[in-house]
């Protein structure tokens, strides 16, 4: 298990009196892209938030790079090398593109090439043209690129990517898929929550399906694509 970067067992979390996660178990290997799938309300975003510490886990363990992180403050978790890209994007609308990137900037761990705005602009050419624009004045797709670029500025080892294709035009969705694949090429591990099977199949090696706050199925993404029954049981509405 040397190559496991994220290892979650028995994770429980919720909001106030409402329990959402009833013991989630999952692992993410170094350099792997895994898709966290499931219907609306299955607990995908909640799982990512609980791993990131934005929601305090009520039970269970979360190990990142061999270190227990459950209950840690989000900024400590981020500093250990776990990046988080929220579903609602949450870019800083009053700040320029460059300033948004500056907020995310953290030194790279030794021996790894650091992300710079210039490298990221090569990654997302659209952003290069608007580096001094106020982020609030950008389109949804551009904001989605910016929120990923901002997280990469922290030089993470693994990234939690929450619904990157949601609400975007098909052409932008394709760019997002490209971006995820290129992150993988850079050696990043990515846990991407996704409802869209096509997108998941395009980027991920493996799928985990959440239902009612637990992982109900996991396996190769190709198996999932081939098996109509599983899809009908857990994914289609």
């Amino acid at each position: 298990m040397v190559d496991t970067v994220l290892d979650v067992t028995g994770l429980r979390a919720g909001y106030g009196p409402a329990e959402v996660l009833f013991g989630v178990d999952l692992t993410l290997a170094r350099g792997e892209v895994a898709a966290l799938m499931g219907r609306n309300g299955a607990g995908k975003s909640t799982t990512l938030k609980a791993i990131m510490g934005l929601l305090t886990p009520r039970a269970g363990t979360v190990r990142f790079a061999g270190q227990e992180i459950a209950g840690m403050a989000p900024y400590r978790i981020a500093r250990l090398g776990l990046g988080y890209v929220p579903e609602e994007r949450r870019i800083f609308t009053d700040l320029t593109v460059m300033e948004n990137l500056a907020v995310g900037r953290r030194a790279a761990p030794p021996g790894r090439e650091a992300w710079t705005p210039e490298r990221l602009f090569a990654f997302f050419p659209n952003l290069a043209e608007m580096r001094h624009r106020r982020a609030g004045a950008m389109s949804g797709g551009e904001q989605q690129m910016l929120t990923i670029a901002r997280t990469l500025m922290g030089n993470p080892e693994a990234v939690l990517l929450d619904e990157p294709s949601e609400g975007l035009a098909p052409v932008i969705v394709e760019q997002m898929a490209d971006a995820v694949l290129r992150m993988k090429d850079e050696g990043l591990a990515v846990l991407v929550s996704e409802q869209n099977l096509d997108f998941a199949a395009a980027v991920a090696d493996r799928a985990l399906i959440l239902e009612k706050g637990t992982v109900r199925w996991q396996g190769d993404i190709a198996t999932l694509e081939a098996d109509e029954d599983i899809r009908r049981a857990y994914l289609t509405v």
Binding site: L54, Y75, G154
Partner: protein, 617 residues
Amino acid sequence: MEWSFLLVQALSGLASASSLFVIASGLTIVFGVTRIVNFAHGSFYMLGAYLAVTIVPWLLEFDRSPTLFFVGVLASALVVGLLGVAMEMLLLRRIYRVPELFQLLATFGVVLIVQDLVQLAWGPMDIPGPRAPGLRHGVTILDQRFPAYELFLIVVGPAVLALLWLLMHRTRFGVLIRAATQDREMVGALGVNQAMLFTGTLFLGAALAGLGGALQIPRISANAHMDLSVITEAFVVTVIGGMGSVPGAFIAALLIGLLQAFGVLIFPKITLVLVFLLMAAVLVVKPWGLLGRPEAAAGRAVLPEGILDPGRMDWAGKVLAVVALAVMLALPLIDAYAVKVGTEVLIFALAAVSLNFLVGNGGIVSFGHAAYFGLGAYGAGLLVVKAGLPMEPALIAAPIAGGLAAALFGFFVVRLSGIYLAMLTMAFAQIAYAVVFQWVEVTGGDNGLVGVWPSHWAASREVYHYLTAVLTLAAIVFLRRVIHAPFGATLRAARDSAQRADAIGIDVRMHRWLGFTLAGAAAGLAGGLYAFSKGSIDPTLLGIPMSVDFLSMILLGGIQSVLGPVAGAAAFHSLKDFFLPLTDHWRLLLGLSIIAMVLVFPRGLAGAFASLRRRPA
């Protein structure tokens, strides 16, 4: 009127605007990042002035140079900045997640503590500061003499604005502050240690307040009332400019400075009313201020804090109520002192229940409830002293006066929510206070008016006690009925989610406005009764400390219960009446108690008790 005179008037308006901006910018920056409205910002301002009148003369002993003067001013600001750091680390850090009302009260606790500590350190006398070397002369502008120091102050505001702009746009710390103003959780998720950011922000904010205070020493003596007078003005500036917006604060400070400078020429006595009109006009058009933006949480459903289910009184409650009533009625059997305290407890119980009608039942956190209490007292008192009417019509006028004032202010108040609403209620209360304080011919100013005595038949303490008991209990029972009635339930619905209440066809604003007016009328009745129990009225009845007393009462009794505030009023007032003569440091004691209460029982005493009882097995 000559042009030169108008010019000088404009310049002095700009000088005050400039000073006001320096202070308000710190308040707005701290609010933007921490989302806490820091009452103690005024205390930092006062500390800046006191430190400067201590440090600067000492430095000038070495050499009367302008350089050393400004070194002293900056040193004072830095020391105040460090005090801000201490406040963040010791207090604010522990209360970022507690409800806004408790945050406000906790920072007000710091105000009380600093007031006592300043008096201990510097004594009760005003301390005049030295004039600035090199800026002591007057400058002749179009045949008018104008102080050079005022000209210098005019430059300070824009200079601070420019420096803040550079800090906010050219440094990582500034960019992080701006990012955190919008979404501090996301900033944390990107690996930024918020604790450091918040501490740094408090240093900056407190240092700006300290600088504002230190710069005032050639103009005004350091005195013990600087804190609350400046915090009100700073609140008005940040509300008009938009909370969290530094440029907004600059524009608002300019507007207010010029309005006051020229308003003096047109309406010499009522410049405050002009400020009120400006604030009202801005808030009607732009509820979030000139450059502010709606709070992300506004209108969204929140976890209810306050009365959940008024319920029926259980047998224990009934027994308790009967015993309390019996004790109240039997007080005349003990002694005159017991009667005096009992009468006041009844009056404050009504005031507290009326406040909790807003806070606990309506989610309307009024920080200026004393205004309606005090205006009720003045309404009744003026009728007796100035119009020669007897007590009976005066006691009818008291709730009308409180209710009318609440209707007028409430019209604007109910357009806002949360912290904006709290600041607006406080600003209105301070304006009412200032009017009563300044309108000496009618109100007697600071001294107030004496001779507010009950009619002959109610002249004895005992009879007046029973009269008070009948009226306050009737009003409390009435308010309790309203809370149980559909109107009360509607207010609770609007409290828990204004949007959802709106969506099912409830006119939220209208209901809140009626509720605010009703609570004001009840407080007005309490104020009228208080005036006759004391035989006099004075401006402290409308002051912030009185509002905070009311809030402490409902906090102590529990905002979750309908009649808890009665117990809170009884406990608070008895303790205060007992301790006040024994100690010179009541404010220190009260401030520490408020902070302790917020830290130990962030959901109120009753909340702690209820959660103990309700804890699932």
